[in-house]
């Protein structure tokens, strides 16, 4: 195909986005990581070992579930759910953590650090560290520690040290700052497992590759079931790893409409949201050039979402290029709409989605009326909602 999608380039640039905007101390480790990763993905032993872990430990392939009652409810296109909520540890995050822990072992690192928002990536990282016997430190904003208590306890039980971050907005952005500072300090002994398609090259492309297993499975499963590709795929976007994971294998198939759903928080007019691609402008944060929510002086803006996993002022650089070339349509869903999404999926299908994933579910209310009966919609249920019960209970009981 003439217009085939081919990002990033060798410098990790997705058009004008991406790159490596980091202190010099991290440059050589990043170049080394890139090399080790590029070699590993061509090695049969690495590929086979990862595939086996994905199958026997993570429980892949995850099902593609036909949502019968939900389909009937809207009376339009057929709705399928990609069940990343059934991954071991309850979300898609383990897909990436498994890949990166194998690389960390190859690199000879004994210590792992990670940042986490909702705690799902922290749990996934603590899990692989427990499995492979590596030391684990997870940085987590104080506000997120408060709203994601069950995951904090899980991480500790898994043997990880959870370091509370009290700087800035006390959420995912600040946890990422602290993790980078730790890495700069302990780079000789430590591998940083970034949890999303963000950060300096090679992280965005590496995490995309590890998460693309989601989209590859959807391709195979929907072809078996329906003998054709879906018309629409919906995924929530914070940093954007579950979305890139399900979108990427379909990027060159323009007949498949891709929808990335950001968190509109209290509403995109309120200033309390994290709709980066909807309202952000290009900037540099966490080692990457990408769309960013910032003030007129280039200071990173405080953001808000009910979902700790989407509560981030930046976004993966690949989403920035996908927006720019108009390959993915980015929309946003408010806290209240997301909570209704939780109710919708739970009561129609008996599946409790994470608040993050509920943003993708809630978008059905906007998309479905425009679809036709012979069409197919796939929603990425990126995680399960048990961790959010406190937040959900508080909302519905008030």
């Amino acid at each position: 195909m003439k217009t085939s999608y081919n990002y990033p380039n060798s410098g990790g640039k997705f058009g004008p986005f991406g790159g490596r905007f980091v202190p010099e101390t991290l440059m050589k480790p990043l170049i080394e990581l890139e090399k080790v990763y590029n070699d590993a993905k061509k090695e049969k032993t690495f590929v086979n070992e990862l595939a086996l872990l994905q199958k026997d430990y993570n429980g892949r392939p995850t099902p593609l579930t036909f949502a019968g009652r939900l389909t009937k409810h809207f009376g339009r296109a057929k709705i399928y759910l990609k069940r990343e909520d059934l991954c071991h540890t309850g979300a898609h995050k383990l897909n990436n953590a498994l890949g990166q822990i194998l690389l960390a072992i190859k690199l000879g690192k004994k210590r792992i650090i990670a940042e986490t928002g909702a705690g799902q990536h922290g749990v996934a990282t603590a899990t692989v560290c427990a499995k492979f016997g590596l030391q684990c430190t997870v940085y987590m904003g104080e506000e997120d520690i408060e709203r994601q208590k069950p995951n904090v306890f899980r991480m500790k039980l898994l043997g990880a040290e959870v370091k509370p971050v009290s700087s800035g907005s006390k959420t995912l952005k600040d946890a990422t700052n602290e993790a980078i500072r730790d890495w700069v300090t302990n780079v000789e002994t430590t591998h940083y497992i970034i949890g999303s398609v963000v950060g300096p090259h090679p992280y965005p492309v590496m995490v995309r590759d590890f998460q693309s297993v989601i989209g590859k499975e959807v391709w195979k499963q929907i072809m078996e079931r329906e003998k054709k590709l879906p018309d629409h795929i919906i995924a929530c976007v914070g940093g954007g790893s579950n979305a890139i994971g399900i979108f990427y294998p379909f990027v060159n198939n323009r007949e498949v409409n891709l929808h990335g759903i950001e968190a509109a928080g209290l509403g995109i007019d309120t200033g309390k949201h994290c709709a980066t691609l909807t309202l952000g402008t290009p900037g540099i944060l966490h080692g990457m050039k990408t769309f960013l929510l910032q003030d007129e002086y280039g200071q990173v803006a405080p953001v808000h979402s009910i979902s700790a996993g989407l509560d981030y002022p930046g976004v993966g650089p690949e989403h920035s290029i996908l927006k720019q070339i108009k390959r993915v349509k980015y929309s946003s869903v408010t806290d209240t709409e997301a909570l209704e999404g939780v109710k919708l999926l739970t009561q129609m299908e008996g599946i409790l989605p994470a608040l993050e994933s509920a943003h993708a579910v809630a978008y059905l209310n906007k998309l479905m009326p425009k679809t036709k009966k012979d069409q197919i919609v796939v929603v990425n249920v990126s995680g399960r909602g048990d961790k959010d019960l406190n937040t959900i209970i508080n909302h519905f009981e008030n």
Partner: protein, 258 residues
């Protein structure tokens, strides 16, 4: 020829090291900041690095993070920074260098940023999140009279240091240790070993050492391996403890060890 380089060379030719002092612009207050900077120069600093405050300073330790947040809370923006720079540069011929993260520059507009640097007498810029690989892109429109100083780290290795040396102007900023600014307890032998590697490979530039240098003793330790030293967090900490008026004492102590 670089004005910063000439300045360092002039100092070195008298048999001593150059002392560069980092101040967070507008910290502890906008009011009186220029007076603070002037007193630092009068007390023996050879240059001023003026830190542009940023919400997410990921190369900085807690001390400069805090001063940066305080400056932002004081309402400091790029306009204030250029006003400070202009006043300091009008007061003294010693070079003023701006140090800050890429994003506020990008937002300000690089063309505007460069011309305001020239207009306010700024001689150099240090952007810790623009490594050599991003240099050509980012500094495309930079005027010749404005030096972009690059950093070399303990992890860099000979090859990268040579590349950094070839691109950097003014001096090469040798990061003494892995970690953020204000690291505190430096492992002396390890640090000397890593500085020596940088020293050997920096052949086209002067070399200043920074990160974790806080006392006259530190300066004496590293003196044989560099052309100058940079002190930041230690001074900010001192200001936190004793207030800006006592700053000249601290600078005189450092200058005595050069």
């Amino acid at each position: 020829m670089s004005a910063i380089r000439n300045h360092i060379e002039g100092i070195n030719s008298t048999g001593r090291l150059a002392l560069s002092i980092f101040l967070t612009a507008g910290f502890p207050a906008i009011e009186g900041f220029t007076r603070l900077a002037k007193s630092v120069l009068d007390a023996g600093a050879d240059m001023i690095e003026l830190g542009i405050p940023f919400s997410d300073p990921l190369a900085d330790g807690p001390v400069i993070q805090h001063s940066s947040m305080k400056a932002l809370a004081n309402g400091v923006n790029m306009k204030n920074v250029f006003l400070f720079a202009d006043e300091i540069a009008s007061y003294s011929a010693k070079p003023v260098i701006l140090m800050g993260y890429a994003n506020p520059l990008l937002k300000y507009g690089l063309t505007n940023f460069y011309s305001d640097c020239i207009n306010s007498g700024v001689k150099g810029i240090i952007i810790p999140d623009i490594p050599a690989e991003e240099y050509d892109d980012f500094f495309k429109g930079k005027p010749k009279g404005l030096d972009a100083v690059l950093l070399a780290a303990p992890t860099s290795g000979s090859e990268r240091i040579k590349m950094i040396d070839a691109k950097s102007r003014g001096f090469v900023y040798c990061v003494s240790t892995t970690g953020t600014t204000g690291a505190g307890s430096i492992k002396k032998d390890e640090t000397i070993k890593s500085i020596s590697v940088t020293r050997k490979n920096v052949t086209q530039n002067k070399m200043m050492v920074g990160f974790g240098i806080s006392t006259p003793e530190d300066i004496k330790t590293f003196a044989p391996y560099c052309d100058g030293v940079i002190v930041g967090s230690a001074l900010i900490k001192y200001i936190n403890n004793y207030g800006p008026l006592e700053t000249p004492d601290f600078i005189r102590g450092l200058a005595g060890a050069l």
